[in-house]
Each structure stands twice: as C-alpha cells, then as structure tokens.
C-alpha cells in the first residue's frame, strides 16, 4: 500500500536528504548564535554544535531504522500493530500536537522577524495569516509535491549562505574566536541542548519514508540531511562570533539576520542585501512549516479515518493560528518553543526509538502477527 501513487517518480535518497535538511534549517539558525553564545564562552559553542550534531545523527539513524522496520505500511499503522490501537492513537495525538505546534511556531517566528525587519506597520497577525494561508494552500495539493519543493528551494538557501559567508569575511576578526576551550562542561551541555532542539524535525522520515523507492537507504539519507544542517549551523555560528564577538552575539536578537545586514557589496550599487536573504530564508521556513502542517494532518487522518482532507485542514488551520498567536512577547514565545521541543523529543524521538526496541524484542511474535 504505497501512498506515493500519484503517477510520480518516487523520492531518491538524495532528495530525502534535501528534505530532511530543509526541515532542519528553519528559524533555529537565525537565533542559534545568540543562544549558543549565552550558554558558552568565546568560540567554544562549536563543540556543542558538533556534539549535538552527533547526537542528532544517532537519533536520526535510530528513528529512521524504526521507519524502515515499518516497511510499506504507514508508521502509525505499524505502531498500532506493536502497541495496540488505543496507545497508537495516543501517540498519534501527541505527534499531531507536536507537528501542529511546530508549524505554528515557525509561522510565528517568521512573522515576528518579518515584522521587525520588513513590515514595520503591518500587524503581526496579518503577516502570520498570509504566511499560513500559503501553507494551507501548499498542503491541499499533492504530498510528494511538497518534497519536490524542498529539492527546489534548498540550493537557493545553500547559495545564500555561501554569499553571506564570502562577503561577511570582510568584518571577520579571528581574535574574536580566541581563547579556545574555556567553557566548562555544564555550559557545553547547555549549548548542546539548544542545538539539539534546533535540529529536531528529522522525525518526518517516519511518515515520508513511504515515498522512497528504496526505504532501506533512509538512515543514510537522514544522517546526510542532518549533516548539512549541522554544517550550516557551524558556518553561521563561527561567522557570527568572528564578526560580533561572543558578547556581541549574545546581545543581538537575530544575529544571523544582522550578519546579512552587515554585508555590503563592493561598488555600492546593491544595498540592503538582507531583503534578499529574507526572501530566501522565508522559502526554507515555508518548507519546514508546510511539512509540519502536512504531517499534523496525517496524524489526524489516523485518528479520524473517515474525515476528508478538507475538513481536517479546516479544523487544524484555525487551531494552528490560535497556537501561533498565543505568545505575547519574546519570553513567552521562547517558552512555546521549548515546550514544542520537549514534545518533539518525547513523541517524535523517544517513542519511535522505544518502538524499535519493542519490535526487536517482539521479533518472534511479530512474525506471527505478520502472517495474521
């Protein structure tokens, strides 16, 4: 029972890597230098990024192993065969909540940032609404089309990062990176937590694996995707510290956007590079949010089998908007982000890994269940 039967070519492992990468590159990178700089001293955050990257890759491999185990059946069906349907429903509910919250969070974040840098007078609600309507439009079409969108947008995102780095080095001061290795272990761990949170989202492989022609390649694809995101995090982080220094990065709300703002092209004929940067970055955030919303719909479909797609979206979209507009200020918004991250760790990472353990133990009985 392949879901990818829209008469389209199935997704290759490379395309799956790109999907994972675009899922992970979202609003996290825009604030990451600040959160990392607050947790660590000097340039030591790179160790946090590297450590967190390794953890994320390990978890990603485990989660995608679970996805591979599920084989051709959708993940939630597979889960219900392992842990009975009521429990699977509970899992589906939490995952729905997570994906919905994730998509709402990304929407609010981009609305906040656009408000600050682009639309001074437009109310933030309208920015979020406009963005969200496009998301709803995106998910009402073909699902594998969303994956193709990643393939289209990711190269643009990578090239804008390259431009930022190449032209940003003009203000780079190596001295800002020194001294090395001065942060204690607690600081590094705290930084690692922040990075792991920004790297969450690879759980989508559980659902999107059915689009892959050769699902057994999924773990590799996921690890590759996470690697891309980790490398981008590292590049942006070192540039931000090199230009703003540690205290500077700590006190800038969106260091990555300020990086783009610092850029001046020789010849002065092209100013305000950040507007271009925004356009491109909104594309990747759109990808992230649209996949989150799509999967929230998927989870809901498992809960209410007879509901049509249109009704599902009609219920989910207002719910997402409400979540999106609940935080009133930056600290509340950060709190929302943390809550969603914990939900992701629980519902998206730990439970699937638990299922993997369970399936290993149930191997004898599982073979029995399969024949049933």
């Amino acid at each position: 029972m392949k879901t990818a039967s829209f008469g389209e070519r199935p997704v290759t492992p490379l395309e799956m890597s790109m999907t994972i990468a675009s899922m992970l590159i979202g609003v996290g990178v825009l604030t990451l230098p600040r959160t990392l700089a607050s947790a660590t001293k000097s340039f030591d955050g790179w160790m946090s990024i590297a450590g967190a990257g390794l953890i994320a890759m390990l978890l990603g491999a485990l989660v995608s192993r679970t996805a591979v185990k599920a084989g051709n059946q959708p993940f939630l069906e597979y889960a219900s065969s392992l842990i009975s349907r009521p429990l699977a429903c509970l899992l589906a509910f939490f995952q729905m909540l997570y994906f919905l919250g994730f998509s709402a969070y990304e929407t609010r974040a981009i609305a906040n940032i656009s408000k600050q840098y682009l639309f001074d007078r437009t109310p933030v609600e309208y920015i979020a609404l406009a963005f969200f309507l496009v998301i709803v439009y995106g998910v009402s079409g073909s699902r594998s089309g969303l994956l193709r969108l990643n393939v289209m947008f990711l190269p643009a995102v990578l090239s804008i990062v390259v431009v930022v780095v190449v032209f940003g080095y003009r203000w780079f001061e190596f001295g800002n990176l020194e001294p090395f290795f001065v942060t204690g272990i607690p600081g590094l761990l705290k930084g690692m937590k922040e990075v792991v949170f920004s790297l969450l989202g690879f759980e989508i492989i559980l659902y999107y694996i059915v689009f892959m022609a050769r699902p057994e390649k999924a773990p590799k694809a996921v690890v590759g995707g996470i690697l891309v995101a980790v490398v981008i995090d590292l590049i942006i982080y070192q540039l931000a510290i090199g230009i703003f220094s540690n205290v500077g990065a700590m006190n800038i709300i969106y260091p990555t956007v300020e990086l783009a703002k610092e850029i001046q092209f020789p010849g002065n004929f092209f100013e305000r590079f950040e507007s271009l940067f925004f356009v491109i970055w909104i594309m990747t955030i759109y990808n992230t949010a649209v996949m989150g919303f799509d999967l929230a719909g998927e989870c809901m479909a498992f809960l209410f089998k007879r509901m049509t797609k249109r009704v599902r979206h009609l219920i989910l979209a207002p719910a997402a908007m409400i979540i999106c507009m609940t935080p009133n200020n930056l600290p509340q918004f950060d709190l929302l982000g943390t809550m969603i991250s914990y939900l992701a760790v629980g519902a998206g990472v730990l439970i699937p890994c638990g299922l993997l353990l369970l399936s290993g133990r149930k191997k004898g009985t599982a073979a029995h269940a399969d024949t049933k």
Partner: protein, 419 residues
Amino acid sequence: MRIRSRRRIAFLFVASSIALSGCWDRVEIDQRGFIVGVGVDAVIQEVDESSAEEESGSTPSGEQTNSASNKKQNKKAKYKVTYQVVTPSGMKAENANAQPTAAYFHLTVEGTTFSTMEANLAQRMSRAPFFEHLKVLIFSEAVARRPGDFAEAIDYFLRDSQMRRSTKVMVTPNKASEILSTQPPGERLPSAYLELVSSNGANSSRILPHTRIGEVQESLLKNKSFGIQTVSNGSRTYSTLNGTAVFSGRSNRLIGFLDGRETAGLNFLRDSIKGGHIEFPYGDEGRGVFIVQRMTRRMRVSFGKDGLPAFDYHIEVQGSLNEAYQIPDTLSEKTLYRMDEYVGQSIKQLIESAIVKLQKQYRCDVIELADYMSRKHHRWWSKHRGQWERGDDLFSQVPIHVQVKAHIHRTGNINISEE
C-alpha cells in the same frame, strides 16, 4: 458547472484585488526622508533661545536650521541633535542652466530620547525620516564626556531595526552640527564626505581605523576601553580626521583625546597601520620623510617575578624615502643604514608617547592588551580581570618594551637635490 466556475473566478478576482493591493508598509521612495548623518550635541543649559536663533541665522543658503521652540522641552532636553536629510532634487545630475540646489538640509531637534526626537522630526518634515542609509554618527565631546550619556545615546542607533551595525561613529571636540555642515567643493553630501575621509587610513598613519557602531557596543558590553576616530573642524570646506577619542572602560565615557602623533603610535601598536608618512631627523640639520608601506608586528608576553606580565613589541616597518633635506648621498649603504636607525627612533618616539599618555594619564587600555591577555593567557586573565583597569590598576604598571626596525627599500628618483 460552468456558471459555478465563473463565479469562483469572479470571487478570486475580488479577493485578490483586496489582498494584493493592500500593503501596510508601502512608502514610496520619494516619500522617504533619507537621513544620512546625525550629529549629537549636548544642550548647555545656559544657552537661551535667542542665541540659538542667532546661530541658525548665520548658516548659508540651502540649509535651514530649526531649533526646537518648545520651551517645555528645552527645560529637560539633554541632546541637541542635527539630522542631515537628503533632498532628492539636489542629488539629481546638475542641469547646466539650473541653479544648483543643495543636496541636503539640516534639522535640529532637542530632546532627551532619540525616539521622541525622531517623532519631532516627523512633525517638521514632509517626508518620513528613514535611517536605513545612515552613514555617520557624530558625537560632540560634551555628550561623550557626560557619564552614562554616550551609551544611552547609542542604544537607539543599535536597537531600531532600520539601523545598521556598520554605521561609522566619530567624536568631535567641536560642535557636531558644525562638522556635519562642512561641505568641500565637489562633494554633495557632508556625511558621504566624512565617511570617505574616515577610511583614508592608507594615506595617513594618524587616522584611527574607522569605528563601527557595532564594535562600540561590543566594547561597552565588555567594559573595555576603546578609541573612536576624532574629527575636528578645520573650516567650512573641510574637516580633519586626526586623533583618537579615548573611552574608559571604567565609566564607559570619553576621558580624553590622543593627538595625531599619539594616534600614529597607537596604530603601530595595534598593527593597524596601512600607510602614512613618518618625518625623521637626520643628524643635526637633515630631515627626511619615510613612507610606510608594510609593517609586521610581533608581540610577546613574559611574566616577571611579581607575576606581572611584561609586553615586548617587535615592529618591523618597510617603506621608502619620499623626501630628504640635507641628507648626504642617499645611495650609499652607510647613509641608508643611518636613515633606518633614525626612522626607527622616530617611530619609537611616536609609540612611546602614546603608551605614556595611555598608561599614566588616562590609564585606559586602548592598546588592547586586555584582549590579548584574555585570548592567550586566559587563566591569568580570569584571575586579574578586575584588577586590570580598576582596583590595582595593573595596566598602568605593566612594562611595555618596544623595538622598531625600519628598512628603507627605495629612495626615489634622485640621489640628492642640492650640494
């Protein structure tokens, strides 16, 4: 079916005409008042309005100065801020027949906070003030010296999302508004002119590398002393960038200036020399000018018995001879060698004058020794961080040794000019 789809299309048309035409933030480019320079002066309480009026009366045509007339404001006002606004008509390519119009005008507002002053500005301008192209920010000495005011004033220029962290900051011992109104012939905008002069370091060793506002914030956050370019007013047609305004990390305010010679010394110490001329004596009568082309700096720290670090600078300068009076036979090796010596001594004098002033008079570590220690000797630094400029005031006690070697590679087209 057909009617239905037609209705749908009609609905879409209406919806899109509403959705696509509305843009909350649309401001046409000709509706924006581009502000390219801001000068911040202190309000001196004694100055009454009539004298302020006189000042604005003496300004030349093409420039209007409005001083705040609100008496209530004047009482509490702390800053007197001059905004340089671009007039689009003045920026156009000049018509041969048309009378050249000024490319800018000035508005002066008084107040205590910059946002309210911006609001005041909007009350007076036909176009909404727009700061995205702000090039220079000039603070007068009086503002920079008042405790707390400088950091306070800079907050707005960092926080507002229109502002860039690469805006240049300068300090002037004169009035900031005067600096903003220097207009050399051929230059349309004083702010653009100042920005260009500020990056002229390749031609003069006495210009400190330009200071970006982002760097100022970093220094303020680190509580470290730092220097800002000083601009002083020569005349109406030029301003001079010469010297350094020294800000103390203890109080985050201006505590004094370095003159051009000392700034050159500071530039040598900080390895920020890009070029420049060094005048040196030769014997009793002779004089020469050396042009710096390249310099390398090595520094070393050794810890003495008392645990205090001592700094050794080895500076090597390469360049050419550009002018010589009464110097015999510039081609002979002996003369070259002697000239190298003299150049080295002159540079050393520059450096030492800077060190003495910073260590003994200002006690401010603008040389960035603190940065160096925190980078290379972090453990020592984390123990003595509080004693560096405060407390025991270690900075003013640490020995700094300087060795300068100069090499003259070229002596120009001629040997000697007179016998």
